[in-house]
Symmetry: C2
Subunit: 197 residues, 2 copies
DNA sequence: TTACACATACCGACTGGTTAGTCTGGCTGT
DNA sequence: ACAGCCAGACTAACCAGTCGGTATGTGTAA
């Protein structure tokens, strides 16, 4: 039996990534020592450096996972067969729910970019930009069709909405008065209302 | 002649605070050593610890300054003699312009809260809450008067707007296609449009 | 006016503690 | 016996904060 799953059923790399995600979100990247991570994962440094090249690498994996998931979900909603208002609303609400479901990821995402090495940072920015552009395309489509106002450049509208998504990790607390879905519906509604012609 | 101003006309505490603000924004709090700060300010550690109790204290000063300035500006706009739509629009646009004019502050503000000591953190949160509530009161006033939609709770609307304000430090770059005032007008416009009944 | 005391402003070497990453070696299944 | 998997002691670097010391200005009293 390989050691990769001893302790519980989760493979060691996963356990390390989960522990790192939680700790990075709770304490910040710099305040989290590699020692803490391996202890939380129930292994030692040898294991960590066997699977990951550096502490920085671990952080990069968090970004890669978030970006992959969000891009897939956006593609799903944007590619549906429905009026653009509905596709935008669904996509906008979905990213809110997904973000709330993974608040730790969101916390890290917008707080720790500058801890990535320059080339990893660049890579993450490029990926994020693709996401941004996909979202913007949806808005521009609606603007061309005349169902969305053209008063504000689509770029700015995207930043407006994602600002609020980003901000979720600052104020949303599970157990608050609103469920993730209710928050998502409200925020998507605000976006669509702002876009009314 | 006291040493407080030798070198140039700026007093040493100011020079230290300016250097710290810039470096914290550029590299993050943990990545900035006290040595770097004192070198950038043209003094030594002795001077820093003469005026400030700790590195953490320096960060706290940044927060205190931002909170004081923003609260004063909000009070000014909210207290004017004008319809609530205009007061809200002006306040919403002003915070955008002020934030862009001090992007370093904004960068630090939302990225470094967790680097403050627990009691300083609590203090900052309390101050920030007062600000949030003042802004919310404006929206609620408009909702009572019937000029703003009540579809979304005022609290959420505030977080929606300030999300986009925080986000500015992530995407806005001086020299971009839009002036600070143009960005502010657009973002205030989006807010007001979302609030149309 | 001079002399002495005292405070403020600052210098910079030093200390105690922490950290990311390395490396040697052992275990386990095939 | 070989290869992937991992343990844990070790190292080299770094950093916040301290502390004894120096310089300059200000008040006071002879």
């Amino acid at each position: 039996m390989p050691r990769t799953t001893d302790g519980d059923g989760t493979p060691v790399p996963q356990r390390l990534l989960n522990a790192a995600t939680r700790l990075f979100a709770e304490q910040g990247y710099d305040r989290t020592s590699v020692q803490e991570i391996v202890e939380a994962a129930g292994v030692t440094k040898g294991a960590l450096y066997h699977y990951f090249g550096s502490k920085d690498d671990l952080l990069h994996e968090v970004y890669a996972r978030v970006l992959r998931v969000q891009q897939e979900r956006l593609d799903h909603f944007a590619g549906m067969d429905a009026p653009v208002e509905k596709r935008l609303r669904d996509a906008a609400a979905d990213v809110v729910v997904t973000t709330i479901d993974n608040l730790d990821d969101a916390m890290i995402f917008f707080r720790s970019m500058h801890h990535l090495s320059p080339e990893k940072n660049k890579q993450v920015r490029a990926e994020r930009r693709r996401y941004h552009e996909r979202f913007r395309a949806l808005i521009e489509e609606g603007q061309r069709e005349g169902v969305f106002s053209t008063a504000t450049p689509a770029d700015l509208v995207v930043d407006y909405h994602f600002g609020s998504v980003h901000h979720l990790s600052t104020w949303y607390r599970p157990g608050g008065p609103l469920t993730p879905q209710q928050v998502a519906d409200h925020l998507a509604d605000l976006l669509l209302r702002a876009l009314r012609p």
